[in-house]
């Protein structure tokens, strides 16, 4: 997927003025939040599971080489083939060559953010192979040639009339004047259309929510059953997954599954949790004859041993973006790449480079809700702060910000000067605002006061008042 994070500020401004998007965002945020809160409340063990999940993820990272080797050996014992890929180009070419060896003309795809990350669809199309997205949201986006705006609800930003228009434009063999009375009818049309594709595909490509080292299994989680059909019907199944999906055992996978759907949609479990282990066995009467795993690094291993290592705990549930006031205001496209919201603000600079994505870790109010709802306790605001620090060190921060920070830093290290300066500033502001009690405009803070008034200070600083009251209290005691 093309990186446009450099234009974050322009994208965000456009998003704020996009009436359709704002309608979609307004509808969605409370929906996810209420359901997730309910799911947490219904499971008394939720907090214990979060801590256990954090421990499992940290343990796995500390032994990642051992678990990946164990996993690869188990896949191969079951008759599957593992392809290790350092970067996006290697992974794209590997998938293409498997498809070519299979003589594939059309491939069905389950939802996979890794496939967006490596730009797989464009690569297959450029080489004469037609990829067909089968997740309902991904399907309509493919018709519209738009990227997803959310990691589990890709068409989050669309309204019903957008769906209808896209289906009419694409399914031209159906009567143009047909009426979609209900959402159900949109779903039914997609089901019929995609069923033909499931049956005709030569290769099925899915992502993975987890890779289980103990058994060599890939695990996908869906509500529609699309990923499950994708990995059952075609002759060849390709799993495309990041190395961070590795989990030691079935028990560890279970702990993570108990958190995943609850944190994502507020369901206790998604409808289908499907484990795939190798190709069809000798006595089997269905299932693919070939099973490939494309293991993708693409910058993940470089996070180990850095402050950003905790990001590898992520299970891609989307709770952080569903609870983020910034995502809630601008949606996913403004972030300019595959992963939006707080997890994207941390992961995108790591995978795509800070220079191109420097605005993302600044797109936060630091309210901390993302960390509070994260099922694997990733300290997302802290990690965004680390990126800001790196921006400053690498001189990627704009010069006005740098000078302001420099000025603030000078005072912060000289408490006497700080108190003197702040006392003077408060006195001036207190005097200037003594009538209205607030300012509707302030020099150098036009951006801030454009949207709200600044309450006028009372004329003295906290320190002054505190010192005075301490003195009074001491006198009383004496």
């Amino acid at each position: 997927m093309k990186l446009t994070s450099r234009d974050f500020k322009t994208n965000a401004r456009q998003a704020l003025g996009d009436a359709g998007l704002q309608r979609a965002l307004g509808r969605s945020a409370t929906h996810f939040q209420a359901r997730v809160a309910q799911a947490r409340e219904n499971l008394p063990e939720f907090e214990a599971l979060r801590e256990a999940a954090r421990v499992i993820r940290d343990h796995t990272i500390a032994h990642m080489d051992a678990y990946l080797e164990t996993y690869a050996a188990a896949v191969e014992r079951s008759g599957g083939i593992v392809h290790w890929c350092k970067n996006a180009a290697e992974a794209r070419d590997t998938v293409l060559s498997i498809c070519r060896a299979a003589g594939a003309r059309m491939v069905t795809k389950g939802k996979s953010m890794a496939s967006e990350e490596i730009g797989l669809n464009e690569h297959l199309e450029a080489h004469g192979i037609e990829p067909v997205e089968t997740d309902l949201g991904e399907y309509v986006l493919q018709l519209r040639r738009e990227p997803p705006s959310h990691i589990i609800a890709p068409a989050f930003h669309l309204n019903r009339e957008d769906w209808e228009a896209s289906f009419r434009a694409a399914h031209t063999d159906l009567p143009a004047d047909r009426v979609f009375q209900e959402r159900r009818e949109i779903l039914a049309e997609a089901r019929t259309r995609l069923r033909e594709r499931f049956l005709a595909a030569d290769v099925g490509i899915t992502g993975a929510n987890f890779l289980v080292a103990e058994t060599g299994s890939s695990v996908i989680v869906t509500n529609e059953g699309n990923g499950d059909l994708t990995q059952t019907l075609p002759r060849v199944h390709i799993v495309l997954a990041g190395i961070d999906k590795i989990v030691p055992t079935l028990e560890d996978t279970t702990t993570l599954l108990r958190l995943l759907a609850r944190s994502a949609t507020g369901q206790e479990m998604s409808v289908y949790t499907s484990f795939a282990t190798g190709p069809r066995r000798a006595a089997d009467t269905d299932g693919p004859a070939e099973y490939h795993v494309v293991l993708l690094d693409n910058g993940r291993s470089a996070l180990i041993g850095t402050p950003f290592q905790d990001m590898l705990r992520c299970i891609r549930c989307s709770a952080c973006m569903n609870h983020c006031p910034v995502y809630g205001a601008i949606g996913g496209h403004a972030y300019g790449w595959v992963y939006p919201g707080p997890m994207g603000a941390v992961l995108t600079p790591a995978l795509a480079g800070l220079a191109e994505t420097a605005d993302l870790p600044n797109a936060t109010t630091f309210c901390g809700r993302c960390a509070a709802v994260c099922p694997v306790k990733i300290p997302l605001p802290d990690l965004m702060r680390h990126w800001r620090k790196r921006q400053f060190e690498r001189r990627l921060t704009p010069s006005v910000t740098r000078s302001a920070l420099g000025l603030w830093g000078w005072f912060a290290r000289r408490p006497a000067s700080w108190r003197l300066a702040s006392r003077a500033a408060m006195r001036v502001l207190g005097w200037a605002g003594r009538r209205g009690g607030h300012f509707s405009a302030l020099p150098l803070a036009g951006g801030w006061t454009a949207g709200r008034d600044m309450p006028a200070p009372e004329g003295e600083t906290f320190f002054t008042r505190y010192e005075r009251e301490q003195r009074v209290a001491a006198r009383r005691r004496a």
Partner: protein, 242 residues
């Protein structure tokens, strides 16, 4: 080789060299005896209450359920349910020993045994287990339980013996390891190469659905639109409160 490059980068990040016997000890121990995480107490119930919880949870996820006293009553229960819904009499049935010998014809049903194809409307599957915690059916693939039965037809009927209802997923993993043969940790081996795991293991919680259109739930996406569970009361302890 990319494998060496990736593993090398991981080891550099971890600040250590390759895998020695010492460094393998901890992961090997975890794989040989997987520790359990926190198991929700909600499934830890007397048998009868456990089965009742399973049925309640499955119904909450839009499955319908019925209890029959014995396996022999399954075809009759299916015939009655299909007739009530106007769903015909043609079935594609899992060639599982418990289903193969039933009197399908006598119940007025025509049963074909094997995997499903595109034209099949109704399938009958046999469950390995049911998990009360979330009302989840455990459906491993194999010649006796083809995976296509769980996905292609619009209507799936699943036969679940009450004796196979468990409180939590962890019991299912133990059963798979014991009943399908546990290998030895890192060198697990099994006849068909997959160890104790079948090619596909589907955990199914309710009917196929999507909320992709305006975050509004619609049932019947790509998998079955109807899921009907027939619980066979083969466990006297589970019937007590029924």
């Amino acid at each position: 080789m990319s494998q060496e490059a990736i593993l090398g980068a991981i080891r550099r990040g971890l600040g250590r060299g390759g895998l020695t016997e010492d460094r393998l000890a901890v992961p090997r121990a975890r794989l040989a005896a997987p520790p359990r995480g926190p198991v929700p107490a909600r499934g830890d119930l007397p048998r009868a209450a456990q089965v009742a919880l399973f049925l309640r949870a499955a119904e909450r996820e839009f499955a319908s359920t019925v209890r029959v006293p014995a396996l022999s009553a399954v075809p009759g229960a299916i015939a009655a349910w299909l007739a009530a819904g106007g769903l015909g009499t043609e079935l594609v049935v899992a060639p599982h020993p418990e289903l193969a010998g039933l009197a399908w014809g006598e119940a007025g049903l025509s049963a074909r045994f094997g995997p499903a194809c595109a034209a099949d409307r109704v399938s009958v599957q046999h469950a390995f287990a049911g998990v009360a915690e979330t009302g989840t059916l455990v459906l491993p693939s194999g010649p006796e339980r083809p995976a296509t039965l769980n996905l292609l037809p619009e209507t799936e009927i699943v036969v679940l013996p009450a004796s196979r209802v468990v409180g939590a997923y962890e019991t299912v993993w133990d059963w798979l390891r014991v009943e399908r043969g546990r290998g030895e940790g890192l060198t697990a081996l099994h006849d068909d190469g997959g160890g104790f795991m079948p090619r596909a293991l589907m955990l199914v919680s309710g009917v196929s659905r999507s909320a992709d259109i305006e975050q509004t739930l619609e049932l019947g996406a790509h998998g079955p639109r109807r899921l009907h569970v027939i619980l066979v009361d083969d466990d006297p302890a589970a019937c007590a409160a029924a």
